[in-house]
Symmetry: C2
DNA sequence: CCCGTGTATTAGTGTTTTCTAATATAGATA
DNA sequence: TATCTATATTAGAAAACACTAATACACGGG
């Protein structure tokens, strides 16, 4: 394998391999997508797009064990996809950033959605 | 666990649980995101966003085995994220849909990217 | 200050996903 | 038609990931 000399392919390849920050771009983007790429987490995010929720209600919506949900919430929070706020006994979660709305809504418009 | 009666949370929960097509929404969206959530596939997609490429060059860019790349391309193609065109001996891949550009570019703008 | 409620963390297990190596197919060229 | 190049497929091993159960921590009310 391996002798394609097509001018244009080679140009693109060279450009990408010398592109400053390509690797970081890939890592950051795929990390966000992989977090949104889990059904339970997607359900959580879509729910929070409707408004702030406590962990108890999130568990009910996603029909998941509290422990599992809590682990998902932590990952989403670490990636700054959601944020949390402590109110008395409970912790209220919400979407952290307007970009998230845009990303998810754009995906919903994709023809296979 | 489980006695939160906050009016607003309950309202959101009820709305979501009765929302026609919520499950399908979740499945479709998370499926696309999970495909874009792999570093190799993200690299492929970002590369194709620069222009059409043959499999040989894609392999070089992502520094992956031909077989692995081929499997990734298949998944991307099944999800209509990329499309392919046979030209003589080789198969040229490109982005299937403008939505993909939008989704990826939006993600790149997210503050952690 | 102790108990109950709500949330987080951890360790281990099971499932999903990706990778590797081998093999198959399809078109081009001799 | 035999062979070479490009790509695809498959089976199995390895790695990544999510789930469960148990436990820990934090706050509020008696």
């Amino acid at each position: 394998m391996g002798y394609c000399k097509t001018e244009n392919h080679t140009k693109i390849k060279e450009r990408l391999l010398h592109c400053e920050g390509f690797k970081e771009k890939v890592e950051a983007t795929s990390r966000i997508f992989s977090l949104l790429g889990d059904e339970t987490r997607m359900k959580i995010v879509l729910s929070l797009m409707e408004g702030e929720l406590c962990v108890f209600h999130i568990c009910e919506i996603v029909e998941g064990k509290q422990s599992a949900v809590s682990q998902h919430l932590r990952k989403l929070k670490d990636a700054k996809i959601v944020k949390s706020q402590k109110v008395g006994n409970q912790v209220l979660y919400s979407i952290a950033d307007d970009h998230i709305y845009t990303i998810v809504k754009t995906a919903l418009r994709h023809k296979d959605c």
